[in-house]
Symmetry: C2
Subunit: 649 residues, 2 copies
Amino acid sequence: MSSPSHAIVNRAKRLVFGRPKRTDQQHQERLGVGSALAVFSADGLSSVAYATEEILYVLVLAGAAASVYSLPVGLAIVGLVLVVATSYSQTIRAYPAGGGSYIVSRENLGTVAGLTAGAALLIDYILTVSVSTAAGIAALVSAVPALRGHEVILSLAAIWFIALVNLRGVRESGLVFAVPTYGFIISTLALIGAGLFKVLAGTWHPIVPPSFGFGFGSPAFHQLTGGVTLFLLLRAFSSGCTALTGLEAVSNGVQAFRPPEAKNAIRTMNLERTLLYTMFAGITLLAFGFGALPSESETVMSQIARDVFGRNVLYYIIQATTAMILLLAANTAYADFPRLASFMARDGFLPRRFVNRGDTLVLNYGVYLLAGLASALVVVFRGSTHLLIPLYAVGVFTAFTLSQTGMVIHWVRDARRTGQPLRRHWWSLTINALGAFLSGTVLIIIGITKFTHGAWIVLILVPLLVAYSLHVRGYYVRFKRRVESLLGEHLAIDDARRVKVVLTIGGLSPVIDHSMRVARRISDDITAVYVAVEPELGEKLRGKWDLKRHGGVPLVVLPSPFRDVVGPLREYVEGLRAANPGLLINLLVPVVVTNEPFDQYLHNGTAEMLLRELRYSEGILVTVIPFYVNMDARAASAITTASPVQSKG
Amino acid sequence: MSSPSHAIVNRAKRLVFGRPKRTDQQHQERLGVGSALAVFSADGLSSVAYATEEILYVLVLAGAAASVYSLPVGLAIVGLVLVVATSYSQTIRAYPAGGGSYIVSRENLGTVAGLTAGAALLIDYILTVSVSTAAGIAALVSAVPALRGHEVILSLAAIWFIALVNLRGVRESGLVFAVPTYGFIISTLALIGAGLFKVLAGTWHPIVPPSFGFGFGSPAFHQLTGGVTLFLLLRAFSSGCTALTGLEAVSNGVQAFRPPEAKNAIRTMNLERTLLYTMFAGITLLAFGFGALPSESETVMSQIARDVFGRNVLYYIIQATTAMILLLAANTAYADFPRLASFMARDGFLPRRFVNRGDTLVLNYGVYLLAGLASALVVVFRGSTHLLIPLYAVGVFTAFTLSQTGMVIHWVRDARRTGQPLRRHWWSLTINALGAFLSGTVLIIIGITKFTHGAWIVLILVPLLVAYSLHVRGYYVRFKRRVESLLGEHLAIDDARRVKVVLTIGGLSPVIDHSMRVARRISDDITAVYVAVEPELGEKLRGKWDLKRHGGVPLVVLPSPFRDVVGPLREYVEGLRAANPGLLINLLVPVVVTNEPFDQYLHNGTAEMLLRELRYSEGILVTVIPFYVNMDARAASAITTASPVQSKG
């Protein structure tokens, strides 16, 4: 039960969670391209920090020399980035009000497709938190080796720190986003620039040196990389596809842009696309050039930075901005997850309470759920990005595929609806179709090559979530239909009679007196009831009961041979209802409330039991009567009371 | 919130927890000496199964040959058993109504001593569960080596199985107690008999053979046992003192005996005493005679039984009865702990809800707490009796010492009160004083020798529990004083005015109509209030509101710029109170209840929030109006309603 001292509790809440925000503050600040890039691309760009490493992690299974294959694999991913990002620009054009995969899929492909995209995304947001946090902590541990071995604890601390920040309510703008995002972009570009300069200067040292007869066709090379199969290459490609995660963020948030919204959003998208493939290609090239290989103790990015800069201040800046943008990426999921859940809840596909916003404009339910599940994943997968990535990619590409397929349908329908020839949309249609085809192909590749590595978990979870959403929706529909059938129905009520009050009596006389006064104002038909768990106390109370003093209210002492309070009371009330059809019973339950919240649990054990068991009972209204006691001995009167005239002053 | 389908829930509860028992059933069966021995001595006698092993466990630190010292140490403990048991017989004589250590100490030595004994016992009951279960599982694993390595899981399973049995409510009598207790007594005595026969037949093989120049003074012996210090001997003695645990049980339950209660209880006590020291001495002798030494994989008792009987059916009977009596000993703590907690709660030293009994005559709170804490101990101490014993013995001997010191004071006071000469009680006085002195000495020895082995935990916990009890008591005293000061006070209430009803409105029209009819029966002064978290919905509702249809009840739409439901409502109500002194406000909160309990959580998110936040608010009565919907499409009407006339048909 909640403490009565909501003032204290609220003050504590403010302190921890910050001041609440007005609904209209939400849209006060519109973003230009510059700040929008900071806000929306953190998730998308941060994947550069681990995508290359994930490719190498698979390739080196066939020997260190196989790392050379990261170059063609990386190139394929750059092409994929280009197509998918351009495809999302078409979504922005078509859905200037914001076109998340859930909305686009549901509108164009139907409920199940929409729910599949929604479920895949919800799972993805959880994985974004886990993967980004784990990768951020890996960047930190690479720079500060003393922290090694504590990755799981550090990740959990980061997850709950971010959750706390989100419960306080963050303003999605300003320095909070700009510093890590631009810091990461600038420092990574500087790293790539300096690295390429070193390459040109000839100080690189790839695993397979040119002098070795470098060339994919050379026999020596084949000897070294004999274990490379097509399957392994596809697996490496699947892993690298995590570079695309978060790419859809801009298309979700078009309304946050300054007008012209769509135009600015597309500009931002183009900028993000260019930065993403440049940085990814650069890091992949340098990883090969400096012979960086995945290791338990240091990230590939850290190895490159160490090789290019040495262990100086520039190295630490790289590591710091990398860790920061990754934690920021985790943070964006805290906004995305509850928003998507509330969209789905508003459509009736998730419990309605997901729509409720707390008083800090934050969907608290979602934040707790997200942090809890992400923490569980980090613990189960021991804070390893390698183990989490296979789960991650499946959801992302499911949403990509559905959303872009939906866009293809959208253009066809749009042409049909407006009567315009389809070729007016030929470019959008082509690029969306290409995006859908490529995403779908990648999804199948991931599903097959990563199936045994954890993808199966997501392939089971998504249908389960979809089935659950359909169940929820079905329930609400049935409920609404049942309730609507009542609209015309008029229940025969004997309006002349008032309610019959049943006042439950505890032990303390002042509480009885007070409750009795309150009861008299609700009804003239009152019965006081005492459940005699201790038979002697019941007899004593009956002996002391003074009809005159209690204004003619009779006392009923109910025997309780089983020492049960609820049962006899329920039986008594049901007996009353059976004997008097047309009787509306109001059960009054006095509770003691003091100004010492920490000792509140020392009161009301029985009252709480009654409320828990009886308040949803058919035919009974249950009313709580608070009896306030000021425990401060200096107070003029001990009760500040729920009754009208306070006797304080 | 509880489900409305209490019928279903109750049926499930019956199934799991059994039928409730009447209060008067409690004392229906009185016990004779034979069944009382079974009921009360399980805890006391079961310690024979591990006490010898605990002595050896310490001694072998000085080498296997040091195990010979188990004989003098064992002898000292036999003497202690004799004195303490006889001392408790005096308690039975003086407190025929039941003289637990808490009661005897509190009456004779004052509150703090009583609470110290109470706290020590509460901690002990927890340890009884942990130690007895761990020892029982050790007996099981000794017989079935395939279970080795799973001790912790098995112990946890046993603890929660016993908890479940206790939540069902056990009848403390009959076969349940007789089979394990008498089985253990008979099989152990048979083991000792057969063992002694083998000794006489000369087939024993002590670690230090007689031919070796056996004798405590011989130089060879000294070479072998050079590490034996006085401190080690005292530590071994401390460990062995666990043989005395549970010895006080009879004195707590005198009222359960057949008349003459005290006499029968003393007879039972004498019988238990004799059995205890005979069995303990026998096992200790055999352990030495057959060179049994503590081992990770097999208990000392199991080694002896294997040596005496071989691995045949008799061996398995010994192991089975040992495991059974140990689990039964754990079971008795489930009755003792909640009973003591309810005694202390009734005196105001623990939260009053500990007095509440569930409907199965069982103090549910206590059972859950006990099982939870015992499980935690088993996990933390990896199910090892050796690690738990040091904690165990401190509490037992604290209670012994206080209780017997209290008895000394009791006799002195009794003589003074009745005017009889003190020497009339000379025997009781002497034996209690000796018991108190010896127990106190043992307590000091345990405190010193076991301090670093875990005794410090109990030495910290007991004072903390005492301080907590005093705080609780202080709070209740202060509260009672504050409330009593109100007895004469009459609050000025404007009794002519009825309550002002504030009806909170959600979305569904039938619910509104129904709540409005209910509201009209509580008061003529009604205002409907809608908190417009979604401004558009507020406008829509205002537009649709039909004063005539709603019987002249005005609608107030409260703006909620922070998307908060509670805050605006609280402000509105406080504004009403400020503007109308003398106003009693009744906040009506409709909730939806359906006959599908598993989907209940899909409703009432907002209503639950209001109830949680507002029901203890000063100046507001909060009333829950259930709105029943029958989701069964075949039902004649969808609502079975909280209103008087059911339209079910």
